[in-house]
C-alpha cells in the first residue's frame, strides 16, 4: 500500500465514521439508527486494519477483526433486541430539538472539534493524527444525541457512539491503547450495553414504555 492510498483510505474511513454519526442525528426510526450504528462500528474497525496492512503487522488486523465482531455485530444485535415491538416504541418520539436545528448543531460541533484537537495535531503531524478532527466531532455529536433524545434506546445509542469515537481517537493518535486496557474497556462496554438493554425491558414492564420523560419519580 502506498503512502497516498494509505492516507486516502484513512480519511475515507474517518469520513464514513463521521457520516454515520450525522445520519444517526437525522433518522428517527430506531431500527435504522441501530443499523447505522453497526455501519459506524465497521468504519471504526477499518482504522486498525488499514494501519495493519500499511505497516505489514498482523496485530492491528486481529484487533480490527475483534472490534468488527463486537461493534458491528454483537452490540447492535443486543440493542436491536431491545427495540420494542409496538409501533409507538419503534420511533423516536417528538424530538426536543427538530431535525434541521439538530443538523446545524452537528455542523457547529464538527467545526468546534477542529479547534479542540489543535494541540494534539501540533504534537504529531502524521496522517493518522490529521484525521482526528472527524472522529473527535463524533464525541461531541454523541453527547448531543444523548441529551436531545427521549427514548431510552436512543440514549444507549448515544453512549455507544461516544464509546466508538473514543476508541477511534485511540486508534488514530496512539495506534490503540495497550491490549489489556482495550480488553477491559471492551468488556465494560459489552456489559454496560447488556445492562442498558435489560433496564430498557424492565422499564417497559414498569412504565409501559421507554420514554425518558416518564422518569420523574425522583426529585427534591
Amino acid at each position: 500500500m502506498t503512502e497516498a492510498t494509505y492516507t486516502g483510505a484513512l480519511d475515507l474511513a474517518a469520513g464514513a465514521f463521521l457520516l454515520t454519526a450525522v445520519l444517526i442525528v437525522w433518522r428517527r426510526e430506531l431500527s435504522a439508527i441501530v443499523r447505522l450504528l453497526a455501519w459506524q462500528g465497521a468504519a471504526l474497525a477499518v482504522l486498525p486494519i488499514i494501519e495493519g496492512i500499511y505497516q505489514r503487522e498482523p496485530a492491528p488486523i486481529v484487533v480490527g477483526v475483534v472490534v468488527l465482531l463486537l461493534r458491528a455485530v454483537v452490540l447492535p444485535i443486543l440493542l436491536a433486541r431491545a427495540v420494542g415491538t409496538e409501533d409507538q416504541e419503534r420511533r423516536e418520539s417528538t424530538p426536543l430539538v427538530n431535525t434541521t436545528a439538530s443538523l446545524l448543531i452537528t455542523a457547529g460541533l464538527t467545526v468546534l472539534a477542529y479547534a479542540v484537537t489543535q494541540p494534539i495535531i501540533a504534537l504529531d503531524r502524521s496522517p493518522t493524527t490529521r484525521a482526528l478532527p472527524a472522529v473527535f466531532a463524533v464525541i461531541l455529536i454523541a453527547v448531543f444525541v444523548m441529551v436531545s433524545r427521549r427514548r431510552a434506546l436512543s440514549q444507549a445509542v448515544g453512549f455507544l457512539m461516544l464509546d466508538n469515537s473514543i476508541t477511534a481517537t485511540a486508534f488514530l493518535i496512539t495506534a490503540g491503547v495497550p491490549l489489556i486496557v482495550e480488553l477491559g474497556a471492551s468488556l465494560d462496554v459489552l456489559f454496560a450495553v447488556f445492562v442498558l438493554g435489560l433496564l430498557t425491558s424492565h422499564m417497559r414492564v414498569a412504565f409501559g414504555g421507554t420514554d425518558l420523560d416518564q422518569l420523574r419519580e425522583l426529585r427534591d
Binding site: 461516544l162 465494560d188 427534591d220
Partner: protein, 489 residues
C-alpha cells in the same frame, strides 16, 4: 509477597463464584464476609513495612503504596460491615416480598464483584486498567441500585448507569490523551500508562495535551466521586439502593474514585505545576459544596439527605486536595476512613427505618431514640461523626483541612467553604433531631433489628469511637501516603 496483592481481588471474586453456584445461602453470605475481611487483613499486613516504599505484584500489573493500603483499609472495613449487614437486610427483603430468590441470588453475586472491582481500582499500576475497574463498578452496581425493581429504583439505576458511563467515558478520553503524551515523551507502548513510568516522565509530557487530558480526567472521575457537573446520580442512586450498597457507594466507591484523581493529580502536577488542577478542584469542590448545602436545607427524604451529605464531604476533600500539602492529604485520608464508617452507621440505620415505615420521608419518622435504642444511638453517633463533632475523627480531619488550606494561602477558599459547611451542619442537625427526638407517635411501627445488622452497627460505633480517640499507627500511614504522592510540606 507480590502474590499478596492478588488476595483483595481474588478473594471477593471467589466469594462471588460461590454465591453464583449456591444462590442466597448462609454459607455464601459468610464466605463473602470473610472475603471482605481478607481485604482488611491484607491491608494490615501490607501496612507493616510499607515505609520501604512501593511494592509490585504480578509482573508490574499491580502496585501498592501507602495510599493503596489506606484505600484497601476503607474497602475492607466498610465492606465487612456492609456484607455482614446484608444477611439481615436480604432476609428482611425476602420476608416482606420486596425481592425474590432470584433477586437475592443476584445480590449475593454482584456485591462481592463490586468489592473486587474497587480493590482492582486501587491496586492497578496501569491507569487504563484503573479506569476499566472504575467502570466495572458502575456495571456491577447497576442492578444493585435497581434491586427493588420499583419505578423509582429503575429510574435511579438508568440515570446512574448513563451519567456515570458518560462521565467515565470522558475519563477514558483523558487517559488516551495522557497515553499519547506519554508515548511522545519516549515511553514504550506497553508501559506508557503505568503510574511509575508516567511519574518518572511527567516533566517531559506535552503541556497542552496534558492540560486537555487533566481536564477530562477531573470531570470524568469527578462524575464517580459525585462532583459537579455530573453529580445528579448521587441522590437518586444512594436513596434507591439497598442500605448496605448505599453505605458502600457513599463511603467507599466515591473515595476510591477520588483516590484515582489523587494519583492522576500527582502526575499532572509534576507536568503542569500545581496551579491547573488546583483551580479545577477548587471550582468543582466549592460548587459541589454549594449544591449539597442547599439541597440539605430543603430535604424531605432522609436517604437523599445522607446522599447529599456524601456530596458535601466529597466537595470538602476536593477543596482540601487543591491545597495539596502533606497535612491536607493526610487529613483527606483520615476523613475518608471516618466518613466511610460513619456513613455505614447512618445508612444501615436508615435502612431499618425505611423497612419499618415503608417510607423514607423525614416527616414519617419521629422518636427513634425512644423506640429503638440501637438504631437511634447508631443514627445519632453516625450523624455526630458526619457533622464533625468531637470526639469523632472528622472533627480532627476538618480542623487539619482548615489548617492546610490556611497554610497553602487558600484562606479565601476556606472562607467560602465554612459558611456552606455551617449551613449543611445546621440542616443535618435539624433533620436528625426531628427524627431522633421528636415525640413518638402512638401508631409508629416497631423497628426490627436483625442480629447481623445489630452486630455491624455495634462494630461501627466502636470503630468510630476508637478512631476518634486515636488514629494510632494510621497517622504514620497517612503521612507516608502523602509523601509518596509527592505532596509538599
Amino acid at each position: 509477597m507480590g502474590i499478596l496483592l492478588l488476595v483483595p481481588i481474588l478473594a471477593p471474586l471467589a466469594a462471588a463464584a460461590l454465591a453464583a453456584v449456591l444462590g442466597w445461602r448462609r454459607l455464601s453470605a459468610w464466605v463473602t464476609i470473610l472475603a471482605a475481611l481478607s481485604v482488611l487483613i491484607t491491608a494490615a499486613v501490607l501496612g507493616f513495612g510499607i515505609e520501604s516504599g512501593v511494592r509490585f505484584g504480578v509482573g508490574d500489573l499491580l502496585r501498592v503504596d501507602s495510599l493503596g493500603v489506606t484505600m484497601l483499609l476503607v474497602i475492607g472495613t466498610v465492606g465487612t460491615l456492609a456484607t455482614w449487614a446484608s444477611i439481615g437486610y436480604i432476609d428482611a427483603e425476602l420476608a416482606h416480598r420486596h425481592t425474590d430468590q432470584r433477586g437475592a441470588h443476584l445480590y449475593g453475586v454482584l456485591l462481592p464483584v463490586f468489592l473486587a472491582a474497587m480493590a482492582l481500582a486501587v491496586l492497578a499500576n496501569n491507569i487504563g486498567v484503573m479506569w476499566a475497574a472504575i467502570e466495572a463498578t458502575t456495571v456491577a452496581t447497576a442492578f444493585l441500585v435497581g434491586h427493588r425493581r420499583t419505578r423509582g429504583a429503575l429510574e435511579a439505576s438508568w440515570k446512574y448507569v448513563v451519567i456515570c458511563s458518560v462521565g467515565i467515558a470522558l475519563a477514558f478520553l483523558g487517559t488516551v490523551l495522557l497515553y499519547f503524551a506519554s508515548l511522545h515523551a519516549g515511553a514504550s507502548s506497553g508501559q506508557a500508562l503505568d503510574l511509575d513510568v508516567l511519574l518518572s516522565r511527567a516533566a517531559r509530557l506535552d503541556p497542552d495535551v496534558t492540560r486537555l487530558a487533566a481536564g477530562l480526567l477531573l470531570l470524568g472521575y469527578g462524575a464517580k466521586v459525585g462532583l459537579v457537573p455530573f453529580h445528579t446520580w448521587v441522590a437518586d442512586a444512594q436513596s434507591q439502593a439497598p442500605a448496605p450498597v448505599s453505605a458502600l457507594m457513599s463511603g467507599v466507591l466515591e473515595a476510591v474514585a477520588f483516590c484515582t484523581l489523587l494519583r492522576v493529580k500527582s502526575v499532572v502536577d509534576l507536568s503542569l505545576g500545581t496551579g491547573f488542577l488546583r483551580t479545577g478542584l477548587l471550582t468543582v469542590g466549592l460548587l459541589t459544596l454549594l449544591v449539597a448545602a442547599s439541597m440539605l436545607v430543603v430535604q424531605k427524604d432522609f436517604k437523599r439527605m445522607l446522599a447529599y451529605s456524601s456530596m458535601e464531604n466529597m466537595g470538602l476533600i476536593a477543596i482540601a486536595a487543591s491545597a495539596g500539602t502533606r497535612l491536607a492529604i493526610a487529613a483527606i485520608l483520615l476523613h475518608v476512613l471516618a466518613h466511610g464508617i460513619g456513613k455505614s452507621l447512618v445508612f444501615l440505620a436508615a435502612g431499618q427505618l425505611q423497612a419499618a415505615h415503608d417510607s423514607t420521608a423525614i416527616r414519617d419518622v419521629t422518636g427513634v431514640l425512644t423506640r429503638s435504642r440501637l438504631i437511634g444511638a447508631s443514627f445519632a453517633v453516625g450523624l455526630a461523626v458526619l457533622v464533625g463533632l468531637p470526639p469523632f475523627a472528622m472533627f480532627a480531619s476538618e480542623l487539619s483541612i482548615s489548617r492546610a488550606l490556611a497554610g497553602a494561602h487558600l484562606a479565601w477558599a476556606l472562607g467560602a467553604a465554612l459558611p456552606l459547611m455551617v449551613i449543611a451542619f445546621a440542616a443535618l442537625v435539624r433533620h436528625g433531631t426531628r427524627m431522633l427526638l421528636g415525640p413518638p407517635d402512638a401508631s409508629s411501627p416497631a423497628i426490627a433489628v436483625p442480629r447481623s445488622i445489630a452486630a455491624a452497627l455495634l462494630t461501627a460505633v466502636i470503630l468510630s469511637v476508637a478512631l476518634g480517640m486515636t488514629a494510632g499507627p494510621l497517622t504514620d500511614l497517612f503521612h507516608t501516603a502523602a509523601t509518596q504522592l509527592g505532596a509538599s510540606h
